[in-house]
């Protein structure tokens, strides 16, 4: 039950972020700017939850993101899954759980995700226009991920505390 509560909190927070970012992108579409914040979906489940709860949360978030965007179904599911297992593998190196450190980790993971998506959709013509927009949106997305991290991780920590589902070190395997 504790795992379920942790997963519920993480999944709800991810869905909230996904919804807000999709609406934000819709609002600023007239500027031809599109922000990607997928890195945020992975960090809390990878660093603060056991794999039995975190992995399904990340995969389900990826599947929801796939369904909400016009990409081949399964693309973001496996991109997020791959980044999750990588981050989970090295999470023992991230001892600190301070917001600033988590924000940097989120930005790093989002950068990797952005590059993966960029390579997947790399065009055969018009590379200059593509790269100009790619780097411009990358900078804006990284800034948004950094700022959003402070709020979303705090929200998840507080929610897990309220539900009495804070994981103990023995569970983090």
């Amino acid at each position: 039950m504790k795992l379920f509560r942790q997963a519920f909190v993480a999944l709800t927070a991810n869905c909230l972020v996904l919804f807000f970012v999709l609406e934000l992108n819709s609002l600023i579409s007239f500027l031809s700017i599109y922000l990607t914040v997928g890195g945020i979906f992975i960090v809390y489940p990878a660093l603060s939850m056991p794999a039995r709860a975190g992995f399904p949360v990340v995969l389900l978030t990826g599947a929801l993101w796939d369904a909400a965007t016009p990409v081949p179904f399964g693309l973001f599911l496996f991109f997020l899954g791959a980044l999750y297992v990588g981050l989970q593998r090295i999470r023992h190196r991230f001892r600190s759980r301070r917001s600033l450190h988590l924000a940097f980790v989120s930005s790093g993971v989002n950068l990797l995700l952005f590059v993966m998506i960029g390579l997947w959709f790399l065009p055969s013509v018009g590379l200059t226009d593509y790269l100009l927009r790619f780097f411009f949106e990358l900078i804006l997305s990284e800034a948004l991920v950094f700022l959003l991290s402070f709020w979303i991780f705090s929200l998840q920590e507080r929610s897990v505390d309220l539900l009495g589902a804070q994981p103990v070190p023995d569970e983090m395997t």
């Binding site: 999709l22 031809s32 992995f55 369904a67 496996f78 297992v85 023992h92 226009d129 949106e137």
Partner: protein
């Protein structure tokens, strides 16, 4: 401090197994899963759209009566002008039908127009799609054309119960038959990459070498009925410059699309009324 665990490789194994299962999974099951997840999250976008409508209603309520009366007067002038134009169009349509009867030409497929609110705009460097608030329940099928007051919007790509996803003409993968205004020879229109903070654009290819365009005298690119999706003559965009392509026989150029394309709130779906055409359309997509 967390210790290194020998089971740290398990998540990679699980991901690898999942990927293998995913590759072997039948497409029908993936499709069902995708539709189920789409319909699960679709109400959130539709709800946001309704909330936006309510917000727009209350913002209009705060305007003064004088403003509303002036806007009403302007709209009634526009209505009067459109009624006159509609009358002329009806007369032209009747004349067209008489000529078709005399020359024994089969009638073109009939259309009806389904107005839909735009729920969400997904306009990225990788795709250019919008979601509208009408779906299967309104008779929309994949492949139906979508237009707005400024011309062509795009083509319906996916249809769900109450929403549809439309691919914009600014999408890199969008193609359609077109011709220049005043010229009947077909050309090919394609969507193009759009840099940030710029207006949407596309490209036109296979343009005959005798057509000339300049910034002072741009030529209008309009839809052709050859594709069977759009009526003839709907505006796509303007071409201000043409250059000879690598073959030396034809020209190509950039098409400046309407900037309102990136900020659409309401569109119209062109739904075929001919049952045979609907069946062909549905089966081909």
């Amino acid at each position: 401090m967390l210790r290194f665990r020998p089971k740290a490789g398990n998540p990679f194994l699980i991901l690898g197994l999942l990927f293998l299962i995913w590759l072997l999974l039948p497409a029908a099951i993936k499709r069902i899963g995708q539709n189920a997840l789409y319909e699960f999250q679709a109400p959130s976008a539709v709800l946001a759209s309704y909330i936006e409508d309510v917000g727009a209603y209350w913002s209009v309520r705060t305007r003064s009566k004088r403003d509303l009366i002036e806007t009403g007067k302007e709209l009634s002038r526009l209505n009067a002008l459109y009624r006159i134009q509609a009358g002329e169009t009806e007369a032209l349509r009747a004349y067209n039908l008489r000529l078709r009867d005399l020359l024994d030409i089969p009638p073109p497929p009939g259309f009806r127009y389904e107005v839909a609110q735009v729920v969400r705009r997904d306009l990225s460097n990788w795709w250019q799609y919008i979601t509208i608030r009408k779906g299967r329940s309104a008779g929309i099928v994949p492949g139906n054309g979508v237009v707005f007051s400024g011309g062509i919007v795009g083509r319906v790509r996916e249809v769900y119960a109450y929403t549809s996803v439309v691919e914009l003409i600014s999408s890199r993968t969008f193609r359609m038959a077109a011709h220049f205004s005043g010229d009947t020879r077909p050309v090919r229109y394609e969507g193009a990459l759009i840099p940030s903070l710029t207006n949407p654009k596309g490209s036109v290819r296979d343009v005959p070498s005798d057509i000339y365009a300049s910034p002072e005298a741009p030529v209008s690119l309009v839809s052709s009925r050859l594709g069977g999706v759009f009526p003839d003559g709907l505006l796509i965009g303007e071409v201000r410059y043409l250059e000879t392509d690598s073959s030396g026989l034809f020209q190509s150029g950039i098409v400046q699309l309407n900037e309102d394309l990136l900020d659409l709130n309401e569109v119209t779906v062109i739904v075929l009324t001919d049952p045979a055409a609907q069946e062909i359309f549905g089966s081909n997509r």
